[in-house]
């Protein structure tokens, strides 16, 4: 294990985190929350000094490989969450440190599950930080580091970092250089965010609400600064947010192809169409099911579309409490939670492409069962899908199920009933935010016990990083000397 390079990566990211926390002090100053500036500055200094300390050992030219990439990513996310929780803790806004960490992990993993019972009581400086963690975590902190600073000249090792953090079954670069790819990804991300800001500003949204909403939408996070989430804003704003949630749930390589003028190739993306189709179908079904809840047809569709888009892209904003909806609609929402957004987007969940590939592979096996001599292959976007990719998906699925079941057993100790336990775990593992019952859009995770909060924290991290990086942390084979440890000699 190349510890120096891992320390170096974490050090850089802590420094960057410190830089991004600094504006929170400015916002506190602007809103006259003078008591908050001290805690924020102390947190910034702690982050920066820890970061600089980790940067001191020079990594040198020693190579690093996939497992260093995975371990670096996993440790990075743990570290930024712990350090990111400091301002909440020091300011006293959230008295329990575990709750602070839960809130921060929920932010960085773009889950949007909150332990706060009254969001509006939180000072502005912390509201900014809470929402900003969504924005940074959405596209990825390591991708950001790769974008601002090329990690290696000429060698391709940095691709391990990109792969470990980007969601989806198969991660490929947009352009030859990792550095340039990361830059393009963030360029498009910032571009879309700015676009949303403009659209919301046209709708007359106050600038601070606008900024935090953009952070929440872009990262597909879901922290809002009002108790009723998006419910209190105008219909125009809700529609804009619906559209942008859907846009941020699309694979960013589609946008790259569109920008490059390769429209045909962009539209050949099977996942894109399935993603849009599922959203449209779910909206129609739910709208029909809840038609008696709203006065007009238009409002019904708009409300259904908002909730569907919010859940499927794993954002977790709400304009209405879907807990009150009929059973049928709730089940559709539950299924959407599992499917999630597209690969290569900022959304979470299992990803549409994984579901699609699993369906295709299942069809192939069925065909093979009927006629064992027939050779069938799985194709996606007109290209052959390698068995390696399929193997990765099956592995992901099996770990996903094991983790989900194990987490449910722990969370069940809260005595909240099957619906709440089930939805709380699904919601965290898929980075959505709200579940059903006490943890629904109108509720919070405050009442869960400490052990289950820890488990849910790990569920959120596992869901965001798609399990493998965290498995590396606990796999003994990753920690001994390249598999050449003494015990293998015997």
């Amino acid at each position: 294990m190349n510890y120096k390079i891992i320390a170096n990566v974490i050090g850089r990211i802590l420094c960057i985190e410190a830089v991004f926390l600094l504006p929170a002090a400015g916002i506190s100053l602007y809103y006259g929350e003078y008591g908050l500036i001290g805690p924020i500055v102390i947190s910034v200094l702690l982050m920066a000094s820890a970061g600089v300390l980790l940067l001191l050992p020079k990594p040198g030219p020693t190579p690093y490989y996939a497992r260093e990439g995975f371990v670096a990513v996993a440790l990075t996310w743990l570290m930024i969450s712990i350090f990111g929780a400091l301002p909440f803790f020091f300011s006293g806004a959230i008295p329990n440190f575990l709750d602070c960490v839960f809130e921060t992990i929920s932010g960085f993993t773009t889950t949007g599950a909150s332990i706060l019972t009254d969001v509006e009581a939180l000072p502005y400086g912390l509201l900014y930080w809470r929402s900003f963690t969504h924005w940074l975590g959405g596209m990825g902190v390591l991708v950001f580091v790769l974008a601002v600073h090329p990690m290696s000249k000429g060698s391709g090792q940095s691709v391990y970092l990109l792969r470990a953090e980007s969601p989806g079954p198969e991660v490929s670069k947009l352009v030859p250089k990792t550095h340039a790819s990361a830059k393009i990804l963030y360029g498009m991300y910032i571009g879309l965010s700015v676009l949303q800001f403009i659209f919301l500003a046209i709708g007359g949204m106050p600038w601070f609400d606008n900024l935090t909403t953009v952070f929440g939408t872009a990262g597909t996070g879901g922290f809002a600064i009002r108790g009723d989430s998006m419910g209190g804003y105008s219909a125009y704003i809700q529609v804009v947010v619906t559209v942008f949630m859907t846009l941020f749930g699309v694979n960013f390589s589609v946008y790259y192809l569109l920008v490059m003028g390769k429209i045909k190739q962009a539209l050949r993306n099977e996942e894109l169409w399935l993603y849009l189709f599922i959203q449209a179908a779910a909206t129609v079904l739910i709208a029909w099911n809840v038609r008696s809840f709203f006065p007009s047809m238009g409002q019904t569709v708009q409300q259904a579309a908002f909730q569907v888009s919010s859940i499927m892209t794993t954002t977790g904003f709400a304009t209405t409490d879907f807990n009150l909806w009929p059973e049928f609609s709730k089940w559709i929402i539950l299924i959407l939670m599992f499917i999630g957004a597209s690969a290569g987007s900022t959304g979470g969940g299992m990803k549409v492409s994984r579901v699609l590939l699993m369906a295709k592979a299942a069809r192939r096996e069925r065909k093979r069962a009927v006629n064992p001599r027939e050779i069938n292959v799985v194709r996606m976007d007109g290209k052959l899908v390698e068995d390696d990719t399929m193997r990765g998906i099956w592995m992901y699925l099996s770990y996903y199920l094991f983790i989900m079941l194990a987490s449910m057993v722990v969370v069940s100790t809260n005595q909240f009933g099957v619906e709440v336990t089930f939805s709380a775990v699904v919601s965290c593992l898929n980075n959505i935010g709200p579940g059903f019952g006490v943890c629904g859009p109108a509720g919070s995770f405050a009442s869960f016990n400490a052990v289950s909060k820890v488990v849910l924290c790990f569920d959120m991290l596992l869901g965001r990083l798609e399990i493998i990086p965290f498995l590396m942390l606990i796999a003994p084979a990753a920690w001994n000397k390249r598999g050449l440890h003494r015990r293998y000699w015997r």
Binding site: Y65, A66, G154, G156, Q157, V159, V175, P176, K177, A180
Partner: protein, 452 residues
């Protein structure tokens, strides 16, 4: 620059490594998913799985938007097809590997249609390098510049050499020959020496100067220089064919080849060479084929290990000059330690040519790279630049110019005259100049060697 490489074989991989280190945007196309996986994780490149000679793969790789396409698959025909397609897609320049001698003749005829800027034939270039060494066997390595007027040769300082313990500035007084030692390899260390550098026994020195002076130097240093009259080539590869062709009338050539069919082909095309159908890896065979009488042995089998062992055997047997072909240069250091002292690597010679071409392309202004050789086991680059007609550093004595650290101006070619520059010499427009620098710094134009 955006460069597409088709074919990730021996040459392809080396090119990927070299060009990605030079900072270019590389796209690699190959049909073997495994090697592509290696390429993405080792180098910062984009890989595309598919047949590079298809429009689909080339479109996916965006060949039309690239600056250069290099076709380096193992098949000449596919490489040419790649070029035609890439040309149609609008790439300005292509480079193809074409090895079959039957095609090389018609290439100049097809050059326009294929948009070929350059063809590479690693076997041919390797044969030419071997030829150079056979003509001047005292050198362990020999690279030429300025159309063959100047060269860099590698010599080993034997403990009895009068140069041992001398400082470099004494060299001119001692020998009265216009030459310059531009790099010294001592054990693992590589140095670009200055004037007060002291030479040691067993140093490997790299000397530049005009070709004529080299012979004089070797004579002065009492290195036994023997004219090579007979050569045994072990392995009847393409290199053997090109080499035998080039050696026609110069010395007696005997080719030992194990495959009968190949022997027949060689015998048919090379009437002046003697082709022996036998297993060249057997010591008895070699001895019975006249190893004792041969002045030189070139090992050209497909397997590096065999070549190394055969070379060690031939050296031990007392053959005056032994040249070893090695493809995997990673282990050169080891081979050199084991007494194999002259190594030729076809793929790295070709890669040098392409890298030089790319650097020259990169730099559209004057002062571009004319020749690029890597010496001291790839650790040092010797570059020949053309001197532009207009530049601030023209006609300024070298002692008044500020060079970047680690740069040595080794030779100036002024209207065909090779000058070893002193502090009072200066660069003049239209000259070419040979510069030596360690290869961790990459220079693509003459302007870059000065402190700005």
């Amino acid at each position: 620059m955006r460069i597409v490489i088709i074919g990730d074989g021996k040459v392809g991989v080396t090119l990927t490594e070299r060009l990605s280190k030079e900072g270019h945007d590389l796209v690699v196309i190959d049909q073997n998913k495994r090697v592509l996986q290696e390429a993405t994780t080792q180098y910062d490149v984009l890989t595309i799985h598919g047949n590079g000679a298809t429009l689909k793969a080339q479109k996916e790789a965006d060949v039309g938007r690239s600056d250069l396409m290099i076709a380096a698959t193992s098949a000449d025909e596919i490489n040419m097809l790649c070029c035609i397609l890439a040309r149609k897609l609008g790439v300005p320049r292509t480079i193809a590997r074409v090895r079959n001698p039957e095609y090389t003749e018609q290439l100049s005829f097809l050059k326009e249609d294929l948009g070929l800027s350059m063809t590479i034939n690693p076997e041919y270039t390797a044969a030419m390098e071997i030829l150079n060494l056979i003509r001047f066997p005292a050198a362990l390595k020999r690279d030429t510049f300025a159309k063959g007027r100047a060269e860099i040769i590698e010599l080993k300082l034997t403990p009895d050499s009068f140069l041992c313990g001398r400082k470099l500035y004494e060299l001119m007084q001692l020998t009265k020959i216009q030459v310059l030692i531009c790099a010294v390899e001592r054990g693992e260390k590589v140095m670009i020496p200055s004037g007060d550098f002291q030479l040691c026994a067993n140093d490997n020195i790299y000397v530049t100067g005009s070709s004529r002076n080299m012979a004089a130097l070797v004579q002065k240093m009492n290195i036994v220089e023997r004219k090579i009259r007979s050569v045994i080539l072990i392995g009847g590869s393409r290199i053997a064919f090109y080499l035998a062709m080039a050696l026609k009338g110069e010395c007696a050539v005997k080719i030992v080849e194990i495959d009968e069919q190949r022997c027949q082909e060689l015998a048919a095309t090379l009437p002046f060479a003697r082709v022996v159908h036998a297993d060249g890896t057997q010591p008895e065979t070699l001895i019975s084929e006249g190893l004792a009488e041969a002045d030189a042995v070139v090992t050209l089998t497909d397997i590096d290990e065999v070549n190394i062992v055969l070379s060690m055997f031939a050296t031990r047997f007392g053959v005056y000059k032994v040249i070893t072909k090695i493809n995997r240069i990673e282990y050169n250091d080891l081979a050199l330690k084991m007494g194999v002292n002259t190594i030729v690597s076809p793929k790295s010679i070709s890669c040098n040519e392409i890298v030089r071409y790319v650097r020259a392309m990169d730099n559209t202004s004057d002062g571009s790279v004319l020749t690029l050789h890597r010496i001291v086991n790839e650790k040092v680059e010797a570059l020949e630049f053309s001197v532009p007609k207009n530049a601030p550093y023209l006609d300024v004595p070298l002692k008044d110019l500020k060079f970047k650290p680690g740069i040595l101006v080794a030779c100036i070619n002024h209207k065909g005259k090779i000058i070893i520059p002193g502090g009072n010499d200066s660069l003049r427009g239209g000259d070419t100049v040979i510069v030596v620098a360690k290869s961790d710094q990459l220079y693509s134009s003459l302007n870059e060697i000065f402190v700005s």
